[in-house]
Symmetry: C2
Subunit: 297 residues, 2 copies
């Protein structure tokens, strides 16, 4: 008997998004009361209490000029988060204090933080109207911004990304970007572009990055990824031919890993083996490869 | 023996997106030659030739001040599309000339048009920097806009939307929005929000719109939808309980349809039966219900 697999990171927030309150200004104002909870953020870094949980305060803790987003209800209490002065600067992996928090937070807290982070970061980087250039105003509890000049409405972004296991004769194709830690390989991935289905995006990305044609693309699992706001769409596909032509502007290396190599690397944890460090558990790639090892044998 | 099902609309473009050319200004300039093809667009409406195919011209047909996006290569020829002066105004269903074209175009042309439309419409509605308000410049053949003032980079949007068949004891839950033609019902749908997996978004949307809790969400199929640029993610789920509480701000009605009702409506084509007009074939809902009727009996 095996233990239950860990949940996919950044899923499982206990927040009720309470969509019906967003569009009702009076109801929303009524939520901004003394019972309301304010997610403590230092910029985009989560505040933590002594127990390693997300720290919450009250609206009285908030800069009176800050924009507030309504995250939803938790245990019946309205929850808000403050929009920081600046959005995310530079890549997420360059923020050690954020990664430290991610390693400490519970699954539920991590999901609550991830969703809040994506949302407040979007506001911080979208204060102006892309249609006319005027300053915009927060609306619907932070689920919209309105342009008072041209009346355009703007909505928080969620960018779909395909991430895929490609299989050939019992081996999996993984690649590494130059920015990855040594020996770390992960699943190939790329943004879904306008005009593509998920299956078409998977095929295009694998062809672009590794020169491999695929067939039988199937969906496996998904994950919200808050750096800044991706929807990771995990898939599996079979390679038509294993010959690799690596796009060296994207990847430093890509190669086929045997089941034994992958199992040994997984067992070796964060140190990895001499040839491979397994994707870390916060990444959906970790779940996809684990799923393949456990279900596709 | 049954005939092959029709492809999901807006998929299957023969364009090679030729991603490697986008980031290379010299290579891209080299593609803007006398052999290049220009997609003829009147605003966002496709030009059609006498045979009912997409009409193409040369770059000489283009307004010299227009921004051009590089769609990719077709039959080895570089293909471009012009950014219109104005983006989409009002809902797509209010554009009869566009729908007329959609009904005439081949599957491949429809996919090429859909992707091009999403892309040029995005440019027309995103000429300014959302971060600082300055005018932005087209970059990478239209797959990016750069801000010369704050150096922000902006990318075309693709908004993931879940659309779901909810099943209970052999019946399917479909709903209708007030704007739908009479008797037309379709699958419930809604945008994936920051911080949600696909499965979480499905569960939230069904709960919000119909008051129904679901279990066993699974992915079925996807579709790019160019009004303006959605990635439709088609799923199936089981209802825990069939009692409906309809959100009347979203839906005019929602109810459970039997297999017989759905099969009769499908057979009745665009006229429908006395109680139901089946979703039209261009919509992924058509494919999802057809998939369910054919595979889930």
């Amino acid at each position: 008997m095996t233990s239950a697999p860990p949940a996919i990171a950044f899923t499982g927030s206990p927040l009720d998004r309470a969509d019906h309150l967003r569009a009702d200004p009076d109801a929303l104002a009524g939520q901004m009361n003394w019972r309301a909870r304010l997610l403590k953020l230092d910029g985009l870094t989560p505040g933590m209490d002594d127990g390693g949980a997300l720290a919450w305060g009250t609206l009285a803790d908030c800069d009176p000029d800050a924009e507030l987003v309504f995250l939803g209800l938790m245990e019946g209490k309205p929850c808000f988060a403050p929009v920081p002065a600046e959005g995310a600067e530079g890549p997420a992996y360059a923020q050690p204090q954020v990664w430290q928090a991610i390693n400490l937070l519970s699954e539920q807290d991590l999901a609550t933080y991830g969703g809040a982070r994506s949302l407040v970061d979007w506001h911080a980087r979208h204060r102006f109207c892309a249609r006319c250039g005027a300053a915009t105003e927060i609306a619907k509890g932070g689920w919209q911004r309105d342009c008072p000049s041209c009346d355009a409405q703007h909505f928080p972004r969620t960018d779909p990304v395909t991430i895929m296991l490609v299989e050939h004769e019992g081996k999996l194709l993984l690649g590494r970007q130059p920015k990855f830690p040594p020996r770390t390989y992960s699943a190939l991935a790329g943004f879904v572009e306008p005009g593509e289905s998920i299956e078409e995006a998977v095929a295009r990305e694998v062809k672009e990055e590794a020169g491999v044609s695929v067939r039988d693309v199937r969906y496996v699992a998904s994950q919200p990824w808050p750096f800044p706001s991706q929807l990771m769409i995990g898939c599996h596909a079979h390679a038509v031919d294993p010959a690799l032509t690596i796009d060296e502007t994207e990847l430093e290396d890509a190669r086929w890993f045997t089941r034994v190599e992958l199992e040994e690397a997984r067992a070796a944890g964060s140190e990895g083996t001499e040839t491979l460090v397994f994707p870390r558990s916060v990444a959906i790639a970790h779940h996809l490869v684990t799923w393949w090892l456990e279900h596709d044998s």
